[in-house]
Amino acid sequence: MSVEHASTRIVDAYARGGEELAADEVWALEAHLETCGACRERLSAAVTSEAPALASLVGTVWSELEPHLAATVPVPPRRRWSAALTAWLTPVMVPWLATAVSVTLIALLLEVTGVRPGLGNGPLVLLFAPLLPVCGVAASWSRGLDPAYELTASAPRAGLPLVLRRTAAVLGVVIPPLLVGSWATGVSAGQWLLPALAFTSAALALGTVVGVTRACAALAVVWAAVVLAPTLATGRTTFALQPDGMPVWGLLLALGAGVVAVRKDAYSLLGTHR
């Protein structure tokens, strides 16, 4: 395809400025200049030859600007690890996760040394496994604990994907020590993993209705009533955590996931931070 370039007359007149060119000529030239590098180069040469005053003005501006440009502070390189980490965790979640991991390790220590201060004779890891991820979820999406909750809620990224990202981070930190604990004490992982996941999904589901903080507080009460109190009272692993109770936990997990999927838009509003 042959391209018709602008004539030297038009380019020179354009460089000189003024009233020499008709409006439609200017318009056509500018439209052509946007797409044609060769003619832009011709124009810049024409400015030097046809409008020396303009060329020297541009030269002066550049020479005055250059020292300032050199003095501009260069942008320091981003600290990659911190940027990558904040995509998964907020700083306020870190102490909560540290606490959760410490609790697991202490329980493991008690179990191994045989010191069991009135906690029954069932495996300890079963007792608090459901509660630990719930605490992490509370720390990741709550008004009381996260000072930047309102900014987070107003951002485009707010919503279920971000909540799930943080929940995954919580589970990623909390579950490995629990796995070690259950392996060391000979408890099957399924027996506590299912209740833990069910509690987590229930926290997220209930959170869309009453807010995540309140939901987690309510679930802590449920945990105390259903898991902790019966164990302390009878000294045996409660029915809820026996293999027979597992289908109920599975059902709860599925139900929670369903509610979260249906009500996911609530996570981009302020209400879920309550």
Binding site: V73, L151, P156, R157, S268
Partner: protein, 270 residues
């Protein structure tokens, strides 16, 4: 710093007003309507949202920031319905900047880390983040403190970081809830200059209870009381509404108290 012009910058606008509310109602708690039948149209410029404490200014700004869903009425932002979901809603939020009244931040972050984190939350394209952050930090005059941790900053500086995070995504709608709280007089002056600069191509809504902020920086005053629009006009119009018999040290303050008095008398409580 140079910024590339993108397709979004030169695309023709298909809306007449950046913010358009009709019969807007926003509920706070179970019963109270903090915004109760508001009709409002705002375009480019700096709009001072003025009203007594508890008038519902924060609730209105939260609804404009799309973190509260309206109970009734219509709200269109940049030609999009505010109550949308999915990708359209995210795209709308990318073009809004918001500084909440209580600006919460992470103390351990440096200024740059915090603004970068907010740029990430606002889905600023990864390649643009360093330049966008630098530009925002420079605009609020914190370039020399960018590597300092947030906990070492004074209250006024923290406020400026709040403004930097609000403008880091080059918003078309900028919502600032009581941004001058905690600024000293010199910072306040600089802030008003920045507002005027931003108002040239952005719809800026500044909520304040200080009449003097409005006089200095706003092209338009929106007087909001008991959930409704009481007055909208230029600062001069506001000043003209007051007479010598009204309370206040300046013409603007006298106009402000005159209009609030009118609305109180309408309700028949006097």
């Amino acid at each position: 710093m140079m910024r590339a012009v993108g397709a979004a910058d030169i695309a023709p606008r298909t809306y007449a007003w950046e913010i358009r509310a009709g019969g807007l109602k926003v509920r706070v708690g179970a019963k109270r309507m903090a915004v109760d039948g508001l009709d409002l149209s705002l375009g480019t410029g700096v709009h001072g949202l003025l009203g007594p404490n508890g008038a519902g200014k924060t609730t209105l700004i939260r609804a404009l920031a799309t973190v509260l869903r309206p109970a009734a009425g219509s709200l269109e932002l940049l030609g999009e319905p505010a109550g949308g979901t999915g990708e359209a809603h995210r795209a709308l939020r990318r073009r809004i900047g918001y500084l909440p009244q209580e600006f919460g931040y992470y103390k351990r972050f440096t200024v740059r880390e915090f603004v970068e984190y907010m740029a990430w939350l606002k889905e600023v394209p990864k390649a643009d983040v360093p330049a966008a952050v630098q530009r925002a930090v420079e605009r609020v005059g914190l370039a020399d403190r960018a590597e300092d941790r947030m906990k070492t900053l004074s209250g006024g500086m923290v406020r400026r970081v709040g403004i930097a995070q609000a403008i880091v995504n080059d918003p078309a709608i900028l919502l600032l809830d009581e941004p001058t709280a905690g600024l000293d007089p010199a910072q306040r002056l600089r802030f008003r200059e920045l507002l005027q600069e931003l108002g040239a191509d952005t719809c800026v809504v500044v909520s304040t209870h200080l009449v003097e902020d409005v006089a200095a920086a706003c092209t338009d005053v929106v007087l909001f009381a008991e959930g409704r629009l009481r007055f909208q006009g230029t600062p001069d119009d506001l000043a003209a509404a007051g007479g010598p018999e009204h309370v206040g040290d300046s013409p603007l303050e006298r106009g402000y108290s005159a209009l609030l008095l009118d609305s109180a008398q309408e309700r028949g409580t006097w």
